[in-house]
């Protein structure tokens, strides 16, 4: 139950030229059905004039107990359901789950599969970040245009996903020990073309946005998170890096074959909304670098480890935590096996849910219109927040 504002919060005495007058704070419920909450998400906001004095996020409208569903089905059975967590980035969700199971069961992944996974994950990052920038601008009031530009580019990548996996968004592509189907030479050629053309789109996008006076005025010095708070509050991904935390799991854990690629980790200085926007733009440029290197020499060979059983797949008893750098942050799966055909415990560490922890801290003292763009800059997807 959300505590209603106290009398002290509700009534404040505002000094005017005539003396003190009694003013009243206003309680506003933003959401759950609101275009700028990015889904069914609600914020109980207490406003003093236009300034936020209290904000409590309310979630769970999309809760379907994904974890319990997964505990009741076979290990592979929950792979399609991981698509529905963060429905923008189904490829990385698949990879995170496959990686955790591979770690726990000790499965080796063939070289070609690792390359395909990197290609798919980086394309997913491009999809997520372009869309996010589009949505953020939508939240700022730039109705339609930037989002449609972003969606135009996104569709090109989603077309490739559809050709390879059969579905645009719910790809269900990774398997334990590899991928479900192989990428043909034609698919790789399409990926190369997308990669070659993407920087031009980014240049155009940035020309429109990065120096845009309205974007700069609205987003700079808004919703600042300090480096210490970012680490302490377990922020991850571009959110943490915008605050100056130099931590990228691709660099730290070197999972998959990320140690073979040359790329840099962009970090922000101030930790405001603009930095979060710009870190993502820079990350897209780094993703293109990785893609160019990965697509240059995709080795021939198996796309899935042929020794992994599909039916009656069992994992020796034990527990393990696997994590990857998903576009939204650290996506981890904590799995406990009792040796049976289904997980004993299956826990998702959703990045956008944990990035929401300090939403109130970011919004206190800001104007109510800024709350919308601060929420937009966190990059939440409610399928993942509520699970």
């Amino acid at each position: 139950m959300i505590q209603p504002a106290t009398t002290e919060q509700r009534y404040t005495l505002t000094p005017t030229a005539e003396g003190l007058i009694e003013t009243q704070t206003l309680e506003v419920s933003i959401g759950p059905q609101h275009p700028s909450t990015h889904g069914v998400f609600r914020m109980d906001v207490v406003l003093d004039g236009e300034t936020v004095v209290k904000l409590k996020p309310v979630m769970g409208y999309l809760h379907r107990n994904h974890e319990q569903l997964a505990e009741k089905m076979a290990w592979l059975g929950s792979m399609p359901f991981t698509d529905r967590l963060d429905y923008f980035c189904s490829m990385t969700n698949n990879w995170a789950y496959a990686l955790s199971v591979e770690k726990l069961a000790g499965i080796k992944v063939p070289e070609r599969a690792e390359y395909i996974r990197v290609i798919m994950a980086e394309l997913t990052r491009l999809v997520n970040h372009t869309c996010l920038v589009g949505f953020l601008l939508q939240d700022l009031g730039a109705w339609g245009t930037p989002m449609m530009y972003a969606f135009r580019e996104r569709e090109k990548i989603l077309d490739l996903f559809e050709t390879v996996s059969g579905a645009r968004m719910m790809c269900n592509y990774m398997r334990f020990g590899g991928c479900r189907v192989d990428m043909t030479e034609a698919d790789l050629e399409t990926a190369r073309q997308i990669t070659a053309k993407f920087p031009r789109f980014l240049d155009e996008f940035e020309k429109l946005l990065s120096e845009n006076e309205i974007l700069v005025a609205r987003s700079q010095r808004v919703g600042i998170v300090s480096k210490e708070l970012a680490i302490n509050a377990s922020l991850s991904g571009p959110m943490a890096r915008a605050s100056g935390v130099e931590y990228d799991i691709r660099k730290v854990d070197k999972y998959g074959i990320y140690d073979r690629f040359d790329f840099r980790v962009p970090i922000g200085e101030v930790g405001d909304v603009f930095d979060r926007y710009y870190v993502r733009v820079l990350e897209m440029r780094e993703s293109i670098k990785i893609l160019q290197q990965a697509l240059k020499d995709v080795p021939k060979g198996d796309f899935i480890n042929p020794t992994v059983k599909l039916r009656n797949f069992k994992i020796p008893a034990g527990d393990g935590y696997g994590r990857i750098e998903a576009p939204k942050g650290e996506l981890g799966f904590y799995l406990v096996s009792d040796g049976g055909t289904n997980p004993y415990r299956y826990h998702v560490r959703p990045p956008s849910f944990i990035n929401l922890t300090i939403l109130e801290d970011m919004c206190l003292g800001q104007k109510v219109a800024d709350v919308i763009i601060i929420l937009g800059s966190i990059d939440i997807v409610l399928g993942e927040v509520d699970r």
Binding site: N65, E67, T357
Partner: protein, 215 residues
């Protein structure tokens, strides 16, 4: 990073009186089980100690373990013929417990994870562990989630409310013995197991008459 034995020794040295056990030795990720009273101090030690500097609490979750009986075969001398041995079945009882798992990483030192576990009774009234939210702000929502889905009370949590389920919800749905309420999904023409359960609720069929599959 140090081995799990070194971690245990360091924690024992720093926190007097703590009871620490190693779980999953030799497994992919071994962890430390800390007793409830000293959990906060041990976690604080790993956060503040310069060797470890675990400044980033990545993942907090709970695992529910029901009481179980494991049958083991133990070789015993045959009472009839002392030269031979016979297998005797011994039943081992493992009591039920609830476990909270914290995964700690260090951003400053690029190391980790240290897996800390704390165990408690399963009964909702006694299911209490210390909250680590005062140490890591990032635990706030994750501990709320564990409270919501497992009914674990985190002592010292600043704002322990339900987060995913609605406030009026009574039970804790991720517990292994959770039964969804019978009126959860009302069906105008109940059939199959829904009909069985409807009959059971109306007292037409005694519960014992239901087969295991029909439940």
């Amino acid at each position: 990073m140090d081995t799990i034995e070194q971690l245990k020794d360091a924690a024992l040295q720093a926190v007097a009186g703590a009871q620490i056990e190693i779980t999953g030795a030799g497994a992919v990720e071994p962890g430390l089980v800390v007793d409830r009273e000293h959990m906060f101090a041990v976690a604080k030690f790993f956060r503040d100690d310069e060797r470890y500097a675990m400044d980033y609490c990545s993942c907090v979750t709970a695992v529910d373990f029901l009481a179980k009986q494991t049958k083991k075969k133990v070789k015993q001398p045959d009472p009839k013929d002392p030269t031979k041995t016979v297998d005797k079945e011994v039943v081992e009882d493992t009591p039920a417990y609830m476990e909270v798992v914290y995964h700690l990483y260090s951003i400053a030192k690029r190391q980790g994870p240290i897996k800390l576990r704390v165990r408690t009774e399963r009964e909702v009234e006694k299911c209490r562990v210390p909250s680590l939210t005062p140490l890591w702000r990032g635990c706030e929502f994750q501990e709320r989630e564990a409270y919501d889905l497992y009914g674990i009370t985190f002592e010292g949590h600043p704002d322990l409310r339900r987060i995913l389920m609605w406030d009026e919800f009574k039970d804790y749905p991720m517990r292994k013995d959770y039964q969804p309420p019978l009126d959860y999904e009302w069906e105008p023409t109940p059939h199959d197991h829904t009909l069985d359960r409807a009959k059971q609720i109306q007292g037409i069929t005694p519960p014992s008459a239901l087969t295991e599959e029909k439940k």
